[in-house]
Each structure stands twice: as structure tokens, then as C-alpha cells.
């Protein structure tokens, strides 16, 4: 039925621990048949038919140590406990598949290679939280993958895993695919909710939080794709087993999107706490036999790390914060020694300027200002004072805005200048790059 499902591109799964991408071992990973063969939907059936108490499920999720995979790392079990238990009306469940921060492409592989596990995870969450309706918001750029996911929804419904009175009980859950159309800011959960409602994606003031005022003004739980997709495994194998895959404070596996200067870019699902060097080796190491220069470990909103800082780090929440950056969404952008950091920052600055929704003055003006200053440096018209100016403007965006994009925009500027200042100074003095001479 999932006719458009593509064959697996990646055949080398050595060194990986497949939890959210566990169908990758199979011929036709996205099909319902494949998922059932691997024990799929058994956890949903069990909790629904045995009427497992929602509080027990939440306890299990807390035990698992699962933290939100969308970037902020908020404990999923704790988030679920904020949803109002009793509510007279429809509660909603939302999945955030809007990734579009440069370097982030993990959730795409879940919806195209393992859509049923996401559906099962959302259905278990819906049962736990009493949500009657769910939406998976998928960014519009991956249209072919959107269609794979929507086909999987129809398949699940026809097989009795979605819809009314599941397994002959009074539990009903409808799940739909909806899409964005080119706006990074819709990844922010309240902008995403606005977008589902058919509006432009501008983040809302918080509070109220989605748990009390979400989609159509109703209580709503929002999680990332990878977060929901971890749930069936947790319910099947137990929270403790999931926690044990990782390290303290970082339970489970993590999907790392590795892009840039490696031999084999792609997604790698590994146990939390894996040493950086091992993960880099899985991706084939630095391409063309070159040297590692820097890594942005979790997406541009996390601080860039020079090679010396990341070589000894482990890939988990604490490991990366000890090394003065963060895990973010696990989007590793790898740069070799031919990379000009000034030009790299130029691209990132443009991104944040372009994607600011414009509601808050510090973010709208600050991102524009930062971009214009870096742009003039790249054009050979920079001044030494510009470096302090960039630092100043960035410090003034952070913390004064409705959403975290402002802060995200400041992080690359501050960390690039901190770690690679001589490169910026050289560029300003000579009007060209110290690295590529152009």
C-alpha cells in the first residue's frame, strides 16, 4: 500500500542501536506488514485492552529518562503530567515534524522509514493524555515523505489502529497529517499551533502554555517526532531498559543527523553517551583525508566547538554541556580545515535574519543588523569595531523576545567570534579569508 516507499539507502547499520528506526533492517521498512512483523502495535493493544492506568504509563516514561528530542531536552514524562486530566471537550495531540534548522534532518527518516512506530507512539500518548484528535505537522519541503506518512495513516486506520473504539474499547483516536509551507519558525510549538489553525506562524506569548491553551484554544500536548517514536519501545521493553541504553540524565538512543565534511553524511541512531570520535567514525570520518576544524553539535542554535573541545566529548546532554555547548536536536554539522568560519557564519546569520517572524523588535532588528555587519565584513568593508558590535547586538537579542529564536540567532555569532576571533580579524584587516584566500 505504501507504494512510494523508497528502498533503504543506508545498508551499514553497524555500531548503531535502532530504536526509532528499527525497521531499517527490513526490505520494505515503511509498510505495516514490516512493522507488525517486528512486534509493532502490540504495546498499544496491551495498554488499551488491559486499561493500563495513564499515571502508570507516565511513570514508565519518567523512568525511561526520555527527554524531548526537538531541541530543548525537556523530560517527556514530566511534560505529559502537565496535561489537565479532566477536560470537558476535545484535547489535542500534536507532533512536531517541522525540522528546518540547518543540519537537522532526522525526523524525515522516521516518517519515511518507520511511520507506524510514530503513529503507535502518538496513539499511546493520546490514550495516556485523553486526547481525541492528533495532528502531525510536517514541513512542506519533504512532500514525497509527507505522502508516505499519510498513506501509512490510512493503512493504520484500515487495520484498526486509528479511529473509533479501538480494539473494541471506548478509546478513540483520529490522527491526521498536515503541512507547513516554508517557514522555519513554525517549528516553535506555538507558531506551529497557529499554523495548524490556518494562520501565519507567529509564536504566541507564554503563558498560557499549550497544555492549557493549544490547538483551537484546547489543551494540547506537543512533542517532537523522535520523542513520540521512542514511546512504543519504552512500553514494550520498559522504561528502565530504555534508560539503560544511555547514560545518567540522558536515557535511550539518539538520532544524530550528521552533515557537512564527513565521508558518509546521514542519520545515525546510537546510544546516548557515545564518544564523539566513535560517532564520527561511523560517519566515515572527515572526508578527503582532511583534518577536523570545528563541529556545531546540535544545530546552529548550539555553540560551535573547535576540534580540540569536541574530540574528548561524549554525545549526551551532560557531556556536551560540560564541553560548553549542547545536544540540541542532535544535528551535527562537521567542518574540515578548509572551512572559512567567517563565511560559514555569514550563511547562518542570513538564515536567522530571513526566518525571524518579526514580532519582537530585538529579534527583528538584531538579526538584520548582525547579518548586515557580517555581510560587510565578507565584502571586505569590515572594521575592527564590528566584532564588538556583533557581540553587543547579539547579547541584546537574547532573553528579550517572545520565543527562543532570538537566543538561537545570538549563539552562533557569540561562539564563532569567541573561538575563531583571529580569523575574523584577519578577514577585516585583509579583506579576504585567512583560510581560502578569497
Amino acid at each position: 500500500m505504501v507504494a512510494s516507499s523508497k528502498p533503504v539507502v543506508k545498508t551499514d547499520l553497524a555500531g548503531q542501536t535502532l530504536v526509532t528506526l528499527r525497521t531499517l533492517t527490513e526490505e520494505n521498512p515503511a509498510s505495516l506488514e514490516t512493522y507488525l512483523k517486528l512486534g509493532g502495535y502490540a504495546a498499544l493493544k496491551r495498554v488499551v485492552t488491559e486499561k493500563v492506568k495513564p499515571t502508570d504509563i507516565i511513570t514508565e516514561v519518567k523512568t525511561s529518562g526520555l527527554r524531548g528530542r526537538g531541541g530543548a531536552g525537556f523530560p517527556t514524562g514530566l511534560k505529559w503530567s502537565f496535561m489537565p486530566r479532566y477536560f470537558d471537550g476535545v484535547k489535542y495531540l500534536v507532533c512536531n515534524t517541522d525540522e528546518g534548522e540547518p543540519g537537522t534532518f532526522k525526523d524525515r527518516d522516521i516518517i519515511r522509514y518507520n511511520p507506524h512506530q510514530l503513529i503507535e507512539g502518538m496513539a499511546i500518548a493520546a490514550y495516556t493524555l485523553g486526547a481525541r484528535v492528533g495532528y502531525n505537522y510536517i514541513h512542506g519541503e519533504i512532500w514525497q515523505d509527507y505522502e508516505i506518512f499519510e498513506a501509512a495513516l490510512h493503512e493504520a486506520k484500515a487495520a484498526g489502529y486509528l479511529g473509533e473504539n479501538l480494539f473494541g474499547t471506548n478509546f478513540s483516536f483520529d490522527l491526521y497529517a498536515v503541512h507547513g509551507y516554508g517557514a522555519y519558525i513554525c517549528g516553535e510549538e506555538t507558531a506551529l499551533i497557529e499554523s495548524i489553525e490556518g494562520k501565519k506562524g507567529q509564536p504566541r506569548f507564554k503563558p498560557p502554555f499549550p497544555a492549557s491553551y493549544g490547538v483551537f484554544g484546547k489543551p494540547t500536548n506537543v512533542n517532537n517526532t523522535e520523542s513520540y517514536t521512542s514511546i512504543p519501545w519504552i512500553m514494550q521493553n520498559g522504561g528502565q531498559a530504555f534508560a539503560d541504553l544511555g547514560v545518567p540524565n540522558s536515557g535511550g538512543t539518539k538520532l544524530f543527523s550528521i552533515s557537512g565534511h564527513v565521508e558518509k553524511p546521514g542519520n545515525y541512531e546510537v546510544n546516548m553517551g557515545m564518544p564523539f570520535t566513535e560517532l564520527l567514525a561511523l560517519a566515515g570520518g572527515i572526508w578527503k583525508g582532511r583534518q577536523l576544524k570545528a563541529v556545531i553539535p546540535g544545530g546552529p542554535s548550539t555553540a560551535v566547538m573547535p576540534a580540540s573541545a569536541i574530540m574528548g566529548a561524549t554525545m549526551d546532554y551532560d557531556g556536551l554541556s560540560k564541553a560548553r555547548s549542547s545536544l540540541g536536536a542532535g544535528s551535527m554539522i562537521v567542518m574540515d580545515d578548509t572551512t572559512c568560519m567567517v563565511k560559514a557564519l555569514h550563511r547562518l546569520a542570513y538564515f536567522f535574519y530571513e526566518e525571524s517572524c518579526g514580532q519582537c523588535t530585538p529579534c527583528r532588528e538584531g538579526t538584520g543588523w548582525v547579518y548586515r555587519v557580517i555581510d560587510r565584513i565578507v565584502k571586505g568593508q569590515g572594521k575592527m569595531e564590528d566584532l564588538d558590535l556583533l557581540t553587543d547586538v547579539s547579547n541584546n537579542i537574547a532573553g528579550r523576545t517572545i520565543c527562543a529564536l532570538g537566543e538561537a540567532a545570538a549563539t552562533p555569532v557569540l561562539s564563532f567570534i569567541k573561538h575563531f576571533r583571529p580569523e575574523f580579524e584577519y578577514y577585516i584587516q585583509h579583506g579576504k579569508s585567512m583560510v581560502d584566500g578569497k
Partner: protein
């Protein structure tokens, strides 16, 4: 007037929302009409707004906020290339110059025969396949080389 095919598709999208929330379908309705007509004129947006029973200005706001909606003609094939950091590190600049030379247009320009329009895109969440480009918002082509680009362009009749 919206075509019967378009209204059938929009009606399907409407089943995803409560009956009193027709506006929620505007994102997909605009996409459906754009796919059918090639781009979104002011009249098209008005027709969508009327069909959903929402203010025209609200539909216009949505159409201008999201960058995959095209408010001016984009030729038969809109080719969007991501030039953001992960793609840049894998040579998107080279692909851009190759395409610009081949088609004889810069970004946001349409070839004189009305066939191609080149656009610079932001991250498309597919960075593992960099460098990459998108054709007409639907077809994703990854791991591009100049040869591969030539073959894709030749294939677009």
C-alpha cells in the same frame, strides 16, 4: 472558480478539522490551487478565502508568510536550491553557478521561454543529501553533481 478537482481535494483536507474551523485548511487549499495553476494570483487567493469562508486578508497573510507559495509566475518548473550551511559545505555554490550558466538566469528570474525559474531556498531539512534541489515544491533531488543536474534538467520537458 475553483475546479471540481481542487474542491474535492480541499474538501478532503477539511475533514481533518472541526466543522467550525474551515480556515485551518487554508495552508493545503493554497497549495492545491497553486499546484493546479502554477502560482497564486490575487484572484486565486480570494477564491480560496471565499471557499473557506475566511477574510481575504487572512488568506493573503498566509500566502505571503510562507515562502513556498509563489505570488508571481515561476515558469513551468521552479527549481529551488538550498544554499544554507550544510549544503554550502558540500558545494551548493558550484551547483548554483552551474545552473545559472546553463539556464542563463539569476535567482528569481524566469527563462525567456517561460520554462524555468531559479530560486534560492533555506534549509529543507534534508541536509544529509546535500547538495540538493527541489523541483516544483515536490520532487527532491539529492547528492547533486553537475552531471546529475544536467540529466535532471534535460528530463524536464
Amino acid at each position: 472558480m475553483l475546479s471540481p478537482e481542487a474542491t474535492t481535494k480541499i474538501d478532503y483536507e477539511l475533514t481533518k478539522y472541526p466543522a467550525d474551523q474551515r480556515q485551518a485548511a487554508v495552508m493545503s487549499a493554497l497549495r492545491i490551487v497553486q499546484t493546479e495553476r502554477g502560482w497564486l494570483s490575487k484572484e486565486s487567493i480570494t477564491e480560496v478565502a471565499q471557499y473557506l469562508g475566511m477574510p481575504e486578508i487572512a488568506a493573503m497573510e498566509v500566502a505571503t508568510f510562507y515562502n513556498m507559495y509563489d505570488l508571481s509566475p515561476v515558469g513551468k518548473y521552479k527549481v529551488t536550491i538550498c544554499t544554507n550551511i550544510s549544503c554550502m559545505l558540500r558545494g551548493s555554490d558550484e551547483i548554483v553557478s552551474h545552473l545559472q550558466n546553463k539556464l542563463g538566469v539569476g535567482f528569481n528570474e524566469v527563462t525567456s521561454d517561460g520554462k524555468f525559474c531559479l530560486k534560492e531556498g533555506e534549509c529543507m531539512g534534508c541536509c544529509g543529501g546535500a547538495p540538493l534541489m527541489h523541483v516544483n515544491n515536490t520532487e527532491m533531488h539529492e547528492f547533486l553533481t553537475t552531471d546529475k543536474v544536467d540529466a535532471i534538467i534535460e528530463g524536464l520537458k
